[in-house]
């Protein structure tokens, strides 16, 4: 009976594994005995189940036990590590700081990258949403605006399209209870926007909110500004003179959203739609988005809609191709090439490089230090430490530093967030509760700490303790001598790479700064000093003359003039033209033309290249003359333009003069432009007023201008801008980049300095004995220092040689983005070389002084 009822063989095996060796036999026997009892008492099944249960219980208990035990052991390692690190204060501080700053920079950069990469990520349908775009074949330009009827037409013709949304951005004046807002972003759109995009409602019903022409939907932030804690629903708000009812409140739109607005109006409220103007296929005033059915083939849709514009418009050549642009690529990719993705990639690479440099440095310093502890290791081994335990010791030490560095890094990053946000115009924050973030932090800590601790853990714990205690201070790798040299070559290479990177960054930073200075200092072609301008909407533009007179009464004003809008696009013909149809079409898209008053050219101080300016002495100037800029002459390939006839959008005239290109900053090529004195298109009016102010009393002058504005009897708030400010704003991304690069430069220099510092410490500590002996033999300390310095400096020079061609290439590539650019300055190369040498000398100096102080007796004592 007993033989038949043995407990399950598998369970028995499991049991034996769970129990400790010493008690394996007796315990297994005990449990089997009990097993048989249960079989007799209950059943075999119950007995086996009981057995399984016991096994699980024991397994759990021993697992908990081992955790408790290792945590005790761990605590001990921790104590020892902290003690050791505190003893080596100087090194530890430098090490931790270097790593912390590297990590902090990395964190900030990754925050930026993540924000960009997850742009528009909150829209649930983002993978099936597209924007309708038109390509002007032949000159690589794209229009993202579409005519009103287009979206509806293509939805009818294309079954793959599930829904469409048209959006028009507009500027409106919003009033409520004495509060006036004219710079809130307004959009007019179809109510399908709530079906296609993810804009959840806090109050109101998205299905009906935009049904009424006089309705308005607010974002929750703006609703709070207007109504405080009251329920905004059904309350009234005045927009552009119309009373509207609030029919909905939307949740706050996330910061990283391409679609950014403050309130929504129904599409039909746009003036012009009701006037039949909507059905003109020439009014490209709306963005059209479509949502495709799941699984629809976007390429098929592209084929179907490709010629929708050509088909529906008359008299247009087949040079327009309409297609879909994926919504989730809008933010990062430009159809023309480039786009934000370049920065995302660049910053990701930089973040990675910084992390690598910081980690390499960390490893370098740690290992440099640990090789000085060979005696301690020797003793430990003699006393009975296993290699494994010594390895664990080093690993713990590097982990402690890594964790400490991380904590400091997080603190530094958190404190730098306001500065960083200002720099990059975002509202980033550290997502402490995000699982991905926590996981990546843990991962980086583990990887960095392990890698840094690995080298000493593996190699140094391998030493023969007897050797060490005998007094072989220098690391004798024995049969690993070659390996030893390889290792120090590795270290040298790392330091050289760090220096090369620093030099490269210095060069880049200097060149970017040069380009910015060039753009800011170059002559725009007219006088932009102390020049402000403001917009005269609608009827106010009719009073331009009166306003100008009023302004001239003040001594604070030195000049006034007006212009209309800088109109874009239109058919162009000229005397003696020989251009092809494609060229004409292209030119028609590029050309600009603007109405000016008779003061404009002189007030703006525009240079006249040939011919003459408009003049009262020639009354025919008023209706029949053009002035054109150099760029237009170039584009039309006009020889002797003066006196030739020119026809733009049907308006004929004679060219009387050529003026300097008027640049609006240098980030883009000047556009071909023509000026005239009387209206040529139906909306031509003097909508812009330019005022030059005496430089000494700017604020008084502005107050005066504002009083003139107010006297016009409008409740639109007075808004103005200084032209030179506006031009400078263009350079904001470059200036941002410079600031970031400046920060990197400092960081790179710091890290390279640390790297060299650590390396020289290591090398010199190796040579201490050699130096001591030399001193005894009467060598001149300075000779020794010389030799050592020379070796280090050679590394720095190598670093420069590596860095120069690479940074040259990168700089040139980057400068290609600018139509007007500086030349690469060779002095920059020399300057950065000098800088790197100085840094090297500085970081070595401390270690070199040690050599000077070496007391020969001390080192020879060990023999």
């Amino acid at each position: 009976m007993i033989q038949e009822n043995k407990p399950n063989k598998i369970l028995t095996k499991l049991f034996e594994l769970t129990v400790t060796k010493e008690n394996r036999e007796n315990l297994t026997g005990d449990y089997e005995e009990m097993f048989h009892r249960i079989v007799d008492d209950k059943s075999r099944l119950v007995a086996n189940l009981w057995f399984l249960f016991q096994i699980l219980k024991l397994a759990l208990l021993s697992f908990v036990d081992s955790i408790l035990w290792s945590s005790t052991l761990f605590k001990n390692y921790l104590k020892t590590s902290t003690r050791i690190l505190l003893k080596q204060k100087q090194f530890s501080i430098i090490n931790v700081t270097g790593l912390a700053i590297g990590l902090a920079s990395c964190i900030l950069l990754m925050l930026w990258v993540t924000d960009e990469y997850t742009y528009d990520g909150f829209h649930q349908n983002r993978n099936s949403i597209y924007r309708v775009v038109t390509e002007h074949i032949g000159n690589d330009t794209y229009s993202r605006n579409t005519p009103y009827p287009m979206a509806e037409v293509i939805k009818q013709d294309v079954p793959e399209i599930e829904e469409f949304v048209r959006v028009r951005q507009q500027k409106q004046l919003l009033k409520h209870d004495d509060k006036i807002f004219n710079n809130w972003k307004s959009i007019a759109t179809d109510k399908s926007i709530f079906k296609v995009f993810t804009f959840p409602f806090l109050k109101g019903n998205p299905e009906t909110a935009l049904d009424d022409m006089k309705s308005i939907v607010l974002t929750s932030e703006k609703a709070t500004i207007l109504f405080g804690v009251e329920n905004p629903l059904n309350k009234m708000v005045e927009v552009d003179g119309e009373l509207l009812q609030v029919t909905g409140v939307m949740e706050k739109i996330p910061n990283n959203s391409t679609l950014d607005f403050d309130y929504i109006r129904p599409l039909e409220s746009v003036k012009g739609i009701t006037k039949n103007q909507a059905f003109i296929w020439n009014w490209w005033a709306f963005e059209s988005y479509v949502k495709l059915h799941d699984g629809a083939d976007k390429n098929k849709v592209d084929e179907k809609i490709s010629d929708v514009l050509v088909v529906n418009r008359t008299g247009v050549e087949n040079t327009l191709n309409t297609f879909l642009e994926p919504f989730n690529e809008l933010h990062l990719y430009n159809l023309e090439g480039g786009g934000q993705i370049r920065y995302v990639v660049m910053f990701s690479i930089v973040a990675l490089l910084i992390l690598i440099i910081a980690c390499i440095n960390f490893v370098n310093l740690s290992t440099a230090r640990s090789s000085e502890r060979t005696k301690e290791i020797g003793i430990r081994k003699v006393v009975g430490s296993t290699r494994f335990e010594i390895g664990k010791q080093f690993l713990t030490e590097s982990m402690v530093i890594t964790v400490a560095a991380f904590i400091i890094a997080i603190v530094v990053a958190q404190l730098s967030i306001p500065w960083f946000n200002e720099l990059v115009f975002k509202q980033l924050s550290i997502p402490y509760t995000n699982l991905d973030f926590i996981l990546s932090i843990v991962l980086i800590i583990l990887i960095t700490g392990t890698l840094a601790g690995l080298y000493p853990a593996l190699v140094l714990s391998n030493f023969n303790p007897v050797n060490i205690l005998k007094g072989n201070l220098t690391i004798n790798f024995g049969k690993k001598n070659r390996a030893g040299r390889n290792r120090s070559n590795f270290r040298k290479t790392l330091v050289i790479i760090q220096f090369a990177l620093s030099v490269g960054i210095i060069i880049l930073t200097l060149m970017i700064q040069k380009q910015i200075d060039f753009m800011q200092d170059s002559d725009q072609g007219y006088n932009t000093d102390n020049l402000l301008f403001f917009h005269l909407p609608g009827k106010l533009a009719n009073q331009t003359g009166a306003i100008q007179n009023q302004l001239r009464e003040s001594l604070l004003i030195t000049g006034v003039s007006s212009s209309g809008y800088d109109n874009a696009g239109g058919k162009i013909e000229w005397e003696g033209m020989t251009a092809s149809k494609e060229r004409l079409d292209f030119l028609g898209g590029q050309i600009r033309y603007m109405m000016i008053d008779s003061n404009y050219l002189s007030m703006m101080d525009v240079g006249i290249v040939s011919g003459r300016a408009f003049s009262n002495n020639f009354p025919s100037d008023y209706n029949n003359s053009w002035m054109i800029n150099e760029e237009l002459v170039k584009q039309l390939d006009l020889k002797d333009p003066i006196g030739k006839s020119l026809n733009i959008i049907g308006a004929k005239g004679t060219i009387v003069g050529v003026y300097n290109n008027m640049h609006f900053g240098f980030k883009e090529l000047a556009e071909p432009q023509a000026l005239y004195l009387s209206p040529k298109v139906s909306w031509d009016n003097f909508n812009y007023l330019f005022v030059r102010i005496a430089p000494e009393n700017t604020s008084e002058a502005i107050i005066f201008i504002e009083s003139v504005w107010k006297s016009l009897g409008t409740d639109i708030p007075f808004e103005y801008k200084f032209l030179d400010d506006m031009i400078n704003e263009q350079y904001t991304p470059e200036i941002q980049m410079t600031k970031i690069f400046n920060a990197f430069t400092i960081f790179a220099i710091f890290i390279s300095g640390i790297g060299l510092f650590g390396l020289s410490a290591f090398v010199i500590s190796q040579k201490v004995k050699e130096v001591g002996i030399r001193k005894v033999l009467g060598a001149n300390v300075y000779n020794i220092i010389n030799t050592l310095s020379k070796e280090f400096l050679i590394w720095v020079i190598i670093a420069n040689i590596i860095a120069w061609p690479l940074s040259y290439y990168v700089t040139v590539k980057w400068l290609e983005n600018y139509p007007y650019k500086v030349n690469f300055d060779l002095w920059v190369l020399l300057f950065s070389a000098l800088a790197s040498i100085l840094i090297a000398l500085f970081s070595m100096s401390y270690q070199l002084r040690r050599i000077m102080k070496v007391n020969p007796v001390e080192c020879i004592k060990y023999e």
């Binding site: 007796n26 005990d30 208990l61």
Partner: protein, 107 residues
């Protein structure tokens, strides 16, 4: 003096009582019979192991039987120190009880 939990004390006393053949199953049976409650094997053999490591118990291998699949038993007995600790605990308890009883009589 080494400290004992109540459970350990009881196990030690059980072993004393068993005099001979005090192995896991026997101890467990004894405790079950004594307290009337069920006692799991694990709750006995873990303290046994601990006390042996602490020097309060010593063990030797006993007979192997078929019912144990041919494996030998481990028979436990108290060491001098184990006996001493037990005695100390008993002395303390006795003293306190004695004081309680005399004070009750007078009070």
């Amino acid at each position: 003096m080494k400290s004992l939990t109540r459970k350990e004390e009881v196990i030690l006393l059980a072993i004393l009582n068993l005099n001979e053949g005090a192995y896991l199953i026997a101890i467990q049976d004894y405790l079950k019979e004594l307290t009337g409650k069920s006692v799991s094997l694990t709750s006995v053999h873990i303290p046994l192991d601990r006390m042996e490591k602490n020097g309060l118990l010593e063990s030797e291998y006993g007979e192997a039987t078929a019912v144990r699949g041919g494996r030998r038993k481990k028979i436990y007995s108290l060491t001098k120190e184990g006996k001493a600790v037990l005695q100390e605990y008993k002395n303390l308890s006795d003293l306190l009880w004695k004081r309680y009883n005399t004070s009750n009589q007078t009070g």
